[in-house]
Symmetry: D2
Subunit: 374 residues, 4 copies
């Protein structure tokens, strides 16, 4: 199979190049780049020398040559290419936000500042978070060429960390907070002051507080998962706060979920906080079992053993999402730590996972690398 | 004046050495170290060569030689030295947790695993967070030799970030969450796997989730500030989650505070989150004014201009606490970002500030360094 | 085939675990660890969860179970295990220095402070730098069970960077300098002050100046390569200076080689240095061609295109050695920049490469990962 | 005194702002910025809030208001401002290369690609490396307004590391190699791909090999110091290789100097390198004494005790140059490690030191900060 990549020289694009070059079902890559048309990918990224060699051509040529097309483009510019792929009858896996919101154009345009160009394409599109949507992805792919709206990086980690609690009725009414820290590759390849080494090294800082575009995507995913088993009248409220941390890859999301009464640990109230009690420990184990059971068959979600805590270093360059499950000392709030590699499970790896699903490949094909220990 | 430092070779100890060596009122240092007795501080820390030269002696000699004593020791071992200082009639500024809880021995012993050794010393001790307690610190110091319970690093950043909202009645019932990331110096000087470079570089991870000892200290501070103007029947619930981030210095705390109805922004409810509206912007400005007004006369708290966001890099090596004020997109939760240098305002700098207060020096003496831009 | 790893929980050991777990010819691992006997590797390294699961047993059990044994042990303790493998008739690939010096026990014991325990084992051992020794490795392996002395990390990068110049007669008499910087994983897994995050972050420093144990290994390799084609009466003098740099993986070696007259660029002498001239450019190209030709068939050495400079980031997690070739502005000294991943080509990867060679596997088996772009 | 800074918003400019704001003789700053004219420095650099407040105006206004002018501009644009200062009769301290080469316009223009605009200004200019030129700086300043050509960052560290050996006749004929690693602030404030966090984090790489503009400046300094006591017919040959290292501040230079026979350690030659002998140790001590004696009265050069090795972390934010002295195992080459903060002794701090000298202030005024331990 020939895979095409549009926007191949961006960070997500070149991560696709790396993953697909090692994919057992992909025999050849066709790469497009507006900025570097006519050049070769291994000149732009010399790390690829001797392993990948491909010229950078026009989008049209890539679509013409490919059996599946990945697009890693700015939001709002890829729809014509999606249409072209549908016309040709091949799948289009889009890493931008254009196809993440399906019918809800209002939310998309409120946050991304533009309307849909080809609204009818949403009939052929599906949100590509397999742990939420696998059956719908498969079903749609079975019916014809499909467009995958590949999830945002933060929504992936935030969603996977909360899904079991939402789906299994652990979460009560109230506010859900997602406090997350991302590595600097999340800002993309183009130099900018915020990502200039001396500005972000040795420092942590939040950004876009109360205003990050991934907020509605996370919220929508939470509601979608709630609906599965027990819709709440009001649905969860959500706050999402991203931070920039001085590392290359990784997103660590710390997720605070209010427990329904029945899932709270029965800790005696005290005027001042007290260290976690045995009840906390027991309830944590029960919740851990929910999580482990929920993800039992998922190839890319690891519910860490009790006592182990998620860290971005442990999922580096892998498609894993690591989860650790904790209770606050009062027993009323579930705290989940979720770690992904923002460029793999948060972008290119998940895109490959989606390709595997819609193509009938083993879902882990090309994604079997073992995360290194350091 | 001669300042004594017990535990001078630990990270907080040597930061005291640095700050006090540049203090206009300190003419000499007397240093004690159990691990390096008989050696010299500039051999242990060659960065001090040519600037500081002092031998490391016994604790008793240091107390005998000094007009004020700082102790940077493990929790639970400094009380006899505090007693010795009281006997001699000189102040004792303690960077451990031993004197942070005053009368509340129950909470101290629940979290630190030991009882008070000299309970009656608490009559002469006061919690040394000047922005909370300045008048009490001064009053107690006026009445005789005083023991300062210098605040923990996380509680300093978390408290300063929430105080104006608590004191001015912005915070309604509900959960307060403090999600914080610390640099690795917070783990101290002794090598350990968690702080081994290859283990913590290029990674973010939470630790002691739901069980960090700074939780009761933050909670107590929040209640103390609430009491000032409007005690709540139940007091705030608190969750505190620390993270380790790959940087040397700094704590970035992101604090989520539920607003009372009257301080919420009147944002129209929508089924999905919407970007921040004009009402959010206006309400943020009102809250910002509260914060600016609250800290108007504080020399070490900077309420950043609207549009600027707290970052640990900007307070590096300074005694500043930088605060930025934000609202979530629903207008119901106040989000404050608070940045300190964990070793300065979070430890040694605040200890010097306390010495200045009890000694009648200018509160900023020895703490006037301008934070570098990188 | 079953591969055994002795010292599996050290950094080089666990990197072997990672690489061998993905090796197409290895069906099972047998792991030994003195420190963690009875535990499981995936508990010590949770990054392996779901990918590798193996208990840690005794050395004897590992040797008994294995078809090939890797040892990642301190210098001077592995010889009995080598003997046991020879007795059993299986190869022993040793990552310590014990078998790097062959007959030259004098040099080994001068630098490592102990004599050989089983001197006669050197008849069955060979230095495992394939680009120097491939035919001898193969020949020895063909004659019976073999012991591989896997090269040191610095000697690997330093040797590969100088070999073509040495072998093809470019290097004249005089001093060769190797100035190298290593990532912190080179210091191993055990916490120590030098590798404590706050001590080595954001800093560069040399260590063991004029006294690093890798000096005689580099020197020996240089002489060995010289001998191949044109022995010099005196042989090269060598200075090797290692530095610690704040990164996890990688060694960047900058190698200064004095050119023989005939290979110098004919640059007009001037009283002050002048920017590189056209002659420099042309001569650089000639030398580049030597390098490219020398390594034409080597699967793991990449002579970068002119204009590209070696960087450790580009070989991260790969078995590549990247070389870039430069001339100083006077045209008299060849400067080669050599980048390897110290844990892969500098340790575990090269060990796997050696296993491939002696086992008759494709030399790149298990080592085909494409280096990531960031 | 009022100090003017032209180019105040660049990295060296804002470091001048920081240092001069804490200078006891400077009462006020006048700042110019082309990029941010009309804005305020504390908006561009919020770390300055509450400590420095100044508007950014035109160059002409700054010169008119100031008693001394610092310029941190690109090479080749500051000469008219130097002329204006001379016309007004005030000193001009230039951080560009424009005045580093004095009469040697040929070398300047060969490397910087432009001729001098006002060649006659060189009569009033002097190279501002106090450890080389202090008496000339003072003499020229005594005769009228002076222009200081403030040294480059690399030349400062490289020169100070070699001066005692050169001046005291330790260095024999042959090649001197300076292999240096710089932090990323050396690349300035403007975002560029090479300094984009994901490109340079966790990696070391050389750049401008054989072609860096600081080469002739280092070479000239070496020759100047040689001339003092024992001119060599040919003068030293020099190779300078800069590297980029993942840290914010600092330059570590490793300098290889060939010793004259009489200063070599009498080490028995051996076919393979041997560990350092007692002779090495003794000769190192002798050389160390030369160094200590040479810099005995220098306030900013620290010759570290034997056994201690220079590290950039120990001079961070200070004007110190730390030197450690080593011999290679053959006893024939002196190896000096030199550490500076590239933004302080390598730029702004040295400029302040020069101002102090020409103004008759204490040479350390405003430069007394103690380097922090981490």
């Amino acid at each position: 199979m020939i895979a095409g990549i549009i926007g191949a020289t961006g960070y997500a694009g070149v991560e696709l190049v790396r993953l697909l070059s090692g994919h057992p079902e992909i025999k050849e890559l066709a790469l497009a780049s507006v900025s570097y048309e006519g050049d070769r990918i291994e000149h732009i990224y010399p790390n690829l020398l001797g392993k990948v060699s491909a010229s950078l051509t026009k989008v049209e040529a890539v679509i013409a040559a490919s059996d599946v097309v990945f697009a890693s483009l700015p939001h709002g510019v890829g729809e014509p290419y999606a249409q072209a792929c549908m016309d040709k009858g091949i799948p289009f896996i889009d890493l931008s936000a254009d196809f993440r919101f399906g019918d809800d154009e209002a939310t998309f345009s409120a946050w991304y500042g533009k309307p849909y160009q080809y609204p009818e394409l949403r009939k052929q599109s599906v949100y590509g978070l397999p742990e939420l949507n696998r059956s719908r992805i498969k079903a749609l792919a079975a019916s014809g060429p499909v467009i995958i709206g590949n999830p945002g990086c933060y929504p992936t980690g935030a969603s996977l960390g909360a899904f079991p609690a939402l789906a299994k009725g652990l979460v009560g009414p109230g506010l859900i907070i997602v406090d997350a820290a991302s590595g600097v590759t999340g800002g993309g390849r183009e130099p900018a002051r915020a990502f200039h080494y001396p500005e972000c090294a040795d420092s942590v800082s939040p950004y876009k507080v109360g205003s990050h575009r991934h907020t509605p995507e996370i919220s929508r995913n939470y509601q979608a998962m709630l609906k599965v088993e027990q819709p709440q009248p009001e649905g969860p409220q959500l706050i999402f706060t991203p931070h920039l941390a001085p590392m290359n890859r990784g997103i660590l999301s710390t997720i605070y979920l209010p427990l329904v009464d029945t899932w709270q640990a029965a800790v005696p109230r005290s005027p001042a906080p007290r260290p976690p009690t045995k009840e906390i420990e027991e309830k944590t184990r029960e919740i851990w079992e929910c999580y482990a059971e929920f993800y039992r068959n998922e190839p890319f979600v690891r519910v860490l053993p009790l006592g182990s805590i998620a860290a971005t270093s442990r999922v580096r360059q892998s498609n894993f999402c690591d989860l650790s499950v904790h209770l606050d000392q009062s027993g009323r709030t579930l705290i989940v730590a979720s770690a992904i590699d923002n460029m793999v499970k948060g972008a290119a790896g998940q895109a490959v996972q989606n390709m595997n699903i819609i193509s009938g490949f083993d879902e882990t094909a090309g994604l079997t690398a073992i995360p290194a220990s350091f």
